[in-house]
Symmetry: C2
Subunit: 407 residues, 2 copies
């Protein structure tokens, strides 16, 4: 590996980033307003939900990222500011303006993100009053508190940082994320904030973020729903002093690997924290004609309630897996299909070859599925494309949480 | 209405149809082999699963329906003959041939359907031995037993018949279906068999069946999965003596209405019997630019686990409904969207207008959602197209049934 994981690394591990978190009263007790700041100019890129009911902060941040020099990100949790109409847009604009004024920035340098209940106007008095407080709360070790402050139904804090060497300079990439339910291949109720002190050219950063999001957040699913507020932002402030990364840079692969590592870890931590999840599912699809086919196949298996409940029940029900492959939209020949089940202990059983079940031990499969991580490897013979995705099982607790929680 | 429902009507209510059901030992105790016969020639049309892992009986029946004169349908339950490779194809062919020989028909007049466990070869000895028995068991009142014999995880028998008048002649349409889990807009683990004594021209029957399936079986969903064996077959034997129905026939609308009524009732009975279902959901989408948009919108709401669990929890969580509309792929403007919740007692509450929540009574919504049927009406302002679909809630029992049942 060309990068190193920083133990307990976080979103302010890279140089020149500050973060803070405060309680303004939107949530009952926990922190609900977070600010992430870069001390210096950045190149910045982001990906947003494709949901047509996208929330006000998404509309505003889209414009901000068109400029590509984001210095501050204000995140509130407990209220999504979605389905709030023109009032919601005005509220978001006001928060952006207040923050910019107090930070002596241009409004186009302040991005927003919100997560929480839908259809309720932001409690503006509380958040307005919180802005000066959260600005004061920001500091260079504020990452962990910030990661805590953006949580809603999350049960664990999601953060990560790695270092790599670019042009002989140590470059750090950090990140934090939130998300547990409603996570889908098209990015749902998930927020991700990535920071780096690498210098990165804007056009290259945009490409890099799009590619990494496609293979990480867009390949995780908890329940197939995508939300109104999904956002992944990457801010690069260049304080590491490397020659700006671009498509010709000799160390670009090292940067991409490190960026991927941070985002993959955050994406998997979201799935692991899936509402009611008891097991992590990893699906690997290989031998498909195109990347699109391979992704479709992996997503169909990960999204199948029948596969998810079978995994919860520790039942190696390969019929449901093949069935979901069959309707995935991916092209394949059934008599080419091989299927192997495996777990994190390295145990594996091939159950299907040439589209037909092998004479395998049901007991060994049942034993293997007791692990907390189940891997499903589906192989076709249509080409060279492969994909990887992550999901979780569907448990009683998923029904319990979502049958009673008003999101 | 231009048709009348026959009390306790069934698949052999139309003239000239016989059915029988026997136990061959594929299932432990219950009937597992069913035969449906038309005494005379038919015009026949069918729709099959689009799953690329389609089962052997689907391959065979596709060819049979290309001929369009099906006289007998052999259905076995307990084993899907799916993912059984060339052996499965040979087994299915043999069953078709044995039945044709014994019935003195051509093989191309015998269709097949199977439902049950995947990946296990058919217990041919048992089924072979059962064919003469099931032929003898067929009689003109055999509909209800046949409807019982095709069940797998179904908890209720699904059958229906109506009469209408075409050319002054009384025409009867009957049907039976099976399906409870794995029911999806693209027809899954569901079998439907429709009979009519109407005379119908083949090309018109094919159109009619395609149109009706699109609005009934393809608009129901239990868990979004589609199966390897889904099939809907319609056999018309002309014994009513009407002038053959075609696109110019003055009574064609009456026939379509009656055909729709039978299939809608069967489709809804499948959803009501959805695994672990406690409530029927009906989603009506109106004011979309195209029928495709309206259908996409309805299906997204019906397939959302978050909406399904909210309905189970009797929570009028409109945010999740709007969210699923947002990622459905249907075109709409959020500030046009209206949403009304209703139930079978005629109670209704409009919760959203112009994309914004109204000041409605949460208590009234909670009261309304206690009903066994919940209606969700979503209105856009993009055009004149509408659609209707049915689904069910997602309960603890769904997880229980599918976490432990090996299908």
């Amino acid at each position: 590996m060309t990068y190193e994981v920083i133990p307990n690394g976080h979103v302010t591990s890279p140089r020149g980033f500050l973060a803070g978190s405060v309680h303004t009263g939107v949530k009952k007790e926990k922190d609900d307003l977070v600010l992430l700041i870069s001390e210096t100019a950045t190149t910045s890129a982001a990906m947003f939900t494709q949901n047509l009911a996208a929330a006000a902060p998404v509309h505003i941040s889209r414009e901000v990222f068109d400029e590509g020099d984001v210095r501050a990100v204000l995140v509130n949790s407990g209220n999504a500011n979605a389905c709030t109409g023109s009032r919601g847009e005005a509220d978001a604009l006001e928060l952006q303006q207040i923050t910019a004024e107090m930070m002596k920035m241009k409004p186009q340098q302040v991005a927003l993100a919100s997560t929480g209940v839908i259809g309720v106007p932001l409690p503006m008095d509380k958040i307005r009053a919180g802005i000066p407080t959260v600005i004061k709360a920001c500091h260079a070790q504020g990452g962990p508190q910030a990661a805590q402050g953006i949580m809603t139904t999350d049960t664990i804090r999601k953060e990560m940082a790695v270092t790599t060497v670019i042009d002989g300079k140590t470059v750090t990439i950090g990140g934090m994320a939130k998300g547990s339910g409603m996570i889908n291949p098209n990015m749902a109720t998930m927020l991700g904030f990535i920071t780096t002190d690498a210098a990165v050219e804007l056009s290259y950063l945009k490409e890099a973020v799009a590619a990494v999001v496609e293979d990480t957040y867009n390949m995780i699913t908890v329940d197939g729903d995508t939300s109104t507020n999904d956002t992944v932002m990457v801010l690069a402030n260049g304080q590491a002093g490397n020659k700006p990364l671009n498509d010709q840079h000799p160390d670009k692969k090292k940067f991409m690997d490190a960026l991927y590592a941070v985002n993959e870890a955050l994406a998997i931590s979201i799935v692991k924290d899936g509402e009611g999840a008891t097991k992590l599912m990893e699906v690997i699809t290989e031998g498909f004609a195109t990347k699109t086919d391979a992704r479709l196949a992996a997503k169909a298996v990960l999204n199948s309630n029948l596969v998810k409940t079978a995994i919860f029940g520790e039942d190696g029900n390969w019929g449901r897996i093949v069935c979901s492959l069959g309707y995935s939209g991916a092209a394949f020949q059934l008599n080419d299909v091989a299927l192997t089940l495996a777990n994190s202990r390295g145990e594996s059983v091939q159950v299907l070859s040439a589209g037909l079940p092998l004479n395998y031990s049901e007991e060994k499969v049942a034993e293997l599925l007791k692990d907390k991580k189940v891997m499903i490897r589906l192989t076709a013979a249509s080409g060279e494309a492969s994909a990887r995705g992550w999901g979780c099982d569907l448990s009683y607790d998923y029904v319990k949480i979502n049958g009673s929680y008003r999101s």
